[in-house]
């Protein structure tokens, strides 16, 4: 008996290991023309794991605090061996993860995978997307450079526009009336403790919710396969799909390595609360579509402040987005056309506004 088999038997005798793994062995993945979209969630998960690992490595040298943060990141980038690589991978992986999370969401939307019985999978996924953006926002400040300083000033000021709760919330986020070292300490805590804790729970829930009903099939295909069960094609999750997913992960790691090596992330200039904001300042690309929208709203609409209107509007859209599956029918014949239309519009809006925001002065 090999050592591996011996360990396995030992575990099986005590925990009924084989029974525990049975669902994984029986799990299948439908194979069809659009099966490639099933990889995106896994790739996002992989990039999250990369974030956790590189984040832990950065923690070995990073020091929060207005007088130390910039210098410690500089130290990581210039003195620590491969520090530049670890930090660049952390930054690139963060951006790619947000991109794949968005792509995953839109694929789920277009393939109608959010429909009954997977409503809660969608809800947990959208919450994870919000969380990922929170990771991006809080992590962006940590190097304490000028761009981050003003991005945080503006971002938290937008929070402050929310009626009634806005100002206390802004003070809570900033750790005071202005962005200072106290803000950095708080954001550091959110970024490395609060958000990872919530994310871990939500990811486990999301994965569990995916396992229960199995993989979704596009409605049209579902109709065909139900009418003609012999047309049904699927592969085993383990090992067939898993090995393909691993190849995708390996490729993602390669892409990350190339990006980090060829385009190492900039550190910028140390933040100075007593310097003017630099010209041409913009938020990270994943906030651009909201930034550009806010820019286009006039300062007064009727008697409401433009910013307040924008913030409330985005809040409402976010809430409706979260609840989208509850407006959908579970009958393939009665799928709501307007939801598909909305999905196309949302994608076009986000992409268009991002490009516009990037090009606009």
């Amino acid at each position: 008996m090999t050592l591996f088999a011996a360990i396995r038997r030992w575990l099986d005798e005590r925990f009924d290991w084989d029974d525990l793994l049975a669902p994984l062995r029986h799990k299948t993945v439908p194979t069809h023309r659009l099966s490639y979209w099933y990889f995106l969630g896994g790739i996002t998960l992989f990039l999250f794991v990369i974030q956790v690992l590189t984040g832990i490595l950065l923690l070995l040298y990073y020091r929060p605090g207005a007088n130390e943060a910039f210098e410690s990141v500089q130290y990581i980038m210039t003195r620590v061996r491969f520090g530049w690589l670890i930090r660049s991978i952390h930054s690139w992986s963060a951006n790619l993860m947000i991109f794949t999370a968005f792509a995953h969401m839109f694929s789920v939307l277009f393939l109608k995978a959010y429909r009954k019985p997977r409503e809660l999978t969608w809800v947990s996924g959208v919450l994870l997307l919000f969380l990922v953006m929170g990771f991006g926002f809080s992590g962006y400040l940590l190097p304490w450079n000028t761009l981050a300083f003003f991005a945080t000033t503006v971002g938290t000021a937008i929070t402050g526009q929310v009626p009634i709760v806005g100002r206390p919330l802004m003070i809570f986020l900033r750790g005071g009336p202005q962005v200072t070292g106290a803000t950095l300490t708080r954001f550091f805590g959110f970024h490395v403790a609060v958000l990872p804790g919530i994310a871990t729970v939500l990811i486990l829930l999301h994965l569990l919710l995916v396992q229960r009903p199995g993989m979704s099939i596009p409605p049209k295909l579902e109709v065909q396969w139900t009418a003609n069960p012999s047309a049904r094609r699927e592969m085993k999750f383990f090992p067939n799909f898993m090995l393909r997913e691993l190849m995708a992960w390996y490729a993602a790691l390669g892409v990350l390595g190339v990006l980090a090596a060829l385009f190492p992330w900039n550190l910028g200039v140390k933040a100075d609360p007593f310097a003017s904001a630099p010209a041409g300042i913009k938020p990270e690309w994943y906030f651009l579509f909201m930034f550009q929208t806010l820019k286009l709203i006039p300062s007064k609409v009727w008697f409401i402040d433009g910013e307040v209107l924008g913030v409330l509007g985005f809040g409402l859209v976010g809430l409706l987005w979260l609840l989208l599956p509850f407006f959908e029918s579970d009958q393939p014949a009665h799928m709501k056309r307007w939801i598909t239309g909305l999905a196309v519009f949302a994608l076009a809006y986000v992409a268009g506004m991002t490009v516009y925001g990037y090009l606009a002065k």
């Binding site: 937008i158 809570f172 005071g176 609360p273 003017s276």
Partner: protein
């Protein structure tokens, strides 16, 4: 008295006990939560800047230029106009709090974050800013440019 009656005390009394137990439990939770909520709100820091500050030396500023100075814990903007007069204003944009700058090409005050523009009296004349910038008093004391908060009339 049947077995059923023994296991089922009077509903009214049960509800009363449940009310007090539940209420007590909730009150204890509130007492745990209250310090945490208070802890989350940062203590107010006294602004030690006072009402007056030496913003710069006369030699530091050329005509048609501006500089940022510290006014307590907030940035201020000191401008020497083309006709050699000094202006001092709050440098915090009234829109979303970026730090504004003097544009010598426009002779105006500009916020790069959302393209807000103020005139030299701090009035918001273009872009999203909802309110004018606070204007401070400026006077010279020897070769020092002294900025002070406007005295309320």
């Amino acid at each position: 008295m049947t077995a059923n009656q023994l296991s089922q005390p009077e509903p009214a009394r049960r509800r009363l006990i449940a009310f007090f137990l539940g209420g007590g439990l909730l009150a204890s939770f509130a007492s745990f939560l209250y310090p945490v909520l208070r802890y989350l709100v940062p203590p107010a820091v006294a602004d030690l800047g006072g009402d007056e500050v030496v913003a710069a030396k006369v030699s530091e500023l050329k005509p048609n230029s501006g500089m940022i100075f510290r006014f307590g814990s907030r940035p201020g903007l000191l401008i020497m106009t083309s006709d050699d007069t000094y202006r001092a204003l709050s440098a915090t944009c009234t829109h979303l709090g970026c730090t504004v700058q003097y544009r010598s090409d426009l002779h105006e005050i500009w916020c790069p974050c959302h393209n807000g523009i103020y005139d030299l009296n701090g009035r918001n004349i273009s872009g999203p800013p909802p309110r004018p910038l606070d204007v401070f008093d400026v006077h010279l004391r020897g070769d020092e440019i002294v900025v002070s908060r406007k005295r309320e009339a």
